[in-house]
């Protein structure tokens, strides 16, 4: 447990020291979303109609891209070998890193969501559910992405490979996440969607550490 907290603390400190990484996701989130009005045109009701979808897809991309760096730096400077040889089980280390990563990127995204909702003239009635859904959804994205990041360590141009591996696995989170918001906006119950999100989250909480740790071990061979 102590080791777990140590790793979280270290990763948080690293993230805060190089502000870049912490801001990367949010900036990407907002800037990319802001591109769509230019591509699609400014009609408010059209934008409002597609707002939840756009916000979710962009959030998904933002997390995905920030995840590329999750293990890379540690891999390249030799920290990962040391971590693997440390008393802390690698699975725990992975969870700690993912958690720290989510705190520095997932949370800011949620905080930025209202901004985009306004930008897209989204009916703010759905905002609460949107943020709640993101609270359940973004950790899923981080967890799934972590597996991709671990699998591609040491691959040529590993980073570019991650989206291909991970995006298909993101689809359930996307569907339930948007579903929740749409339901709320159309006055249906968002609850079932949220529960499904939670279920997926639990599954991933089990799979990710095992898969990632296995991937990291063979990456260091």
């Amino acid at each position: 447990m102590k080791g777990f907290l140590l790793v979280i603390g270290r990763d948080l400190r690293l993230a805060l020291r190089q502000r870049a990484d912490a801001w990367l996701a949010v900036l990407f989130f907002v800037l990319t979303a802001a591109l769509f009005p230019f591509g699609i045109g400014p009609e408010p009701n059209l934008l409002a109609r597609i707002a939840p979808g756009i916000i979710w897809v962009v959030a998904l991309l933002a997390v995905l891209l920030s995840l590329e760096r999750l293990f890379l730096a540690d891999f390249e400077d030799g920290s990962l070998e040391q971590l693997l040889l440390s008393p802390l089980p690698l699975e725990a280390a992975v969870l700690a890193k993912v958690l720290a990563h989510w705190l520095t990127t997932g949370l800011p995204l949620i905080a930025a969501a209202p901004l985009l909702a306004v930008l897209f003239h989204m009916d703010l009635a759905g905002l609460g559910v949107l943020m709640l859904a993101m609270l359940l959804g973004t950790p899923i994205l981080s967890l799934v992405g972590a597996v991709g990041a671990a699998l591609t360590l040491g691959a040529r141009r590993g980073g570019v490979l991650i989206p291909l591996l991970v995006l298909p696995l993101y689809i359930p989170a996307l569907i339930f996440g948007v579903g929740a918001v749409d339901a709320a906006l159309q006055g249906f119950a968002a609850r079932p969607h949220l529960l499904l999100l939670a279920a997926v989250l639990l599954v991933m909480l089990v799979i990710t550490p095992l898969a990632s740790a296995a991937a990291l071990r063979q990456a260091l061979e």
Binding site: G3, L14, Q18, E76, S79, E81, L85, S86, P87, L88
Partner: protein, 217 residues
Amino acid sequence: MALFEGRSLHCRRGGRDVFAALDFALPAGGALLLTGPNGSGKSSLLRLMAGLLKPAGGALLWDGRPIAEAPEEHARRLHYLGHLDAVKPVLSVTENLQFWAALRGTTKALGGSLDAALERFALTDLAAVPGRLLSSGQRRRLALARLVAAPAELWLLDEPSVGLDHASVGRLAAAIAEHRASGGRVVVATHTALDLGDPIPLSLDSLAPPPLPEMVW
């Protein structure tokens, strides 16, 4: 007293045999000196000993028990120093060292042992400097400081003296001697002169690379 040994080790990398039928035995307080030309497999052997690589054949034993049976336990008793220094550019020298020491669970003694470790490799007046400002040798010294900051029974050092100036090489030799005096053991791969007192020499040169492997994956 426990013995660390390798029995008819066989190492294959990138689909080709690096060495085969390699044996060694390292008693407590002993030092194993790996020599051999480039590409003879020194680094590979060290990674095998650390458990980072799996041998294609043979076994590594600690006190007669295969380390493969309890990898975590083995990891806990060793320090591995590879070509990479695991120094974070944005963390100060102290912070870098502290994290790894704390992870080894030596928090209570920390304050003392940290300063001692820094002192040992003359890093004290660099303590507050961020890692990215370190020169290659300074970075290497920081990596070495990890060895003494948190105790471990077995040191695996891959060309530890790379980039070190004269004084530092001396400090390294002293640290190793002290470690051995207190019953620790060390395996060192190096091309340069490094005074280990009475090392057990292990030359990987002799092992001629075996012919075409039978099973090629």
